[in-house]
Symmetry: C2
Subunit: 102 residues, 2 copies
DNA sequence: CGAATAGTCAAGTTAAAACTTTAGTGTTTG
DNA sequence: CAAACACTAAAGTTTTAACTTGACTATTCG
């Protein structure tokens, strides 16, 4: 699964997208992050693992609490993908470059 | 389902994301769009409906052929969402505005 | 006009995600 | 040191989404 595939798949789920939105404001522990959702802590942990694998969230464990924060790599990759669709000339240049490489 | 939810859900699927990527280069008929995929034309039509509902693709039927092209509204909405995560100060200003409204 | 083309509709099947339960680890607190 | 806390792992269930089949409509071509 490519990076961009992981990112879009991760953000395709409403709960995960909401988590990212809430982490925009401030870092949160797993428990705090889980509070608003009507699901088990385990389920939240699973969502978190997906966000982390996509490079959208980083976490670090101190003692028994894991703190989650927004990560740049995922957002940056998303920005690049979007830029390529919004300025088609950039994509055409890429295609030209690929052609010249052959 | 909110606009941004529709957009991320739509792009969360690999086939639909590939469709959008191919439409970045040029508009295509449904049949041409379907060619690379090992699935029925019906399935492609279903994917297309989801992309259209998300504002990522527009289509128009002329005679018996439907031509599909990339649409701005979806990409713009995605850009706005992303901008809000990448510059947290913007989001904090929004929160301040909401607070002052009360 | 008949056949081929391009796409669509409704309904059912299959495959993938999300979520749960149960049980457990390491960490702090009283 | 026992109990509460914060999370984690494995395995099974349920829900959702993707995809198929078969039948059908409208358009173009010979």
């Amino acid at each position: 699964m490519s990076d961009i595939a992981k990112i879009f798949h991760a953000l395709g789920d409403p709960t995960r997208r909401d988590m990212v939105e809430r982490l925009t404001d401030a870092p949160l522990s797993v428990s705090k992050l889980a509070e608003p959702y009507a699901m088990s802590l385990t389920a939240v942990g699973q969502h978190l693992a997906i966000l982390e694998a996509a490079g959208l969230v980083t976490t670090q464990k101190t003692g028994r609490v894991r703190t989650c924060a927004l990560a740049q790599p995922g957002l940056d990759a998303l920005g690049e993908w979007l830029a390529a669709r919004r300025s088609p000339w950039a994509r055409k240049l890429d295609a030209l470059g690929d052609m010249l490489d052959e």
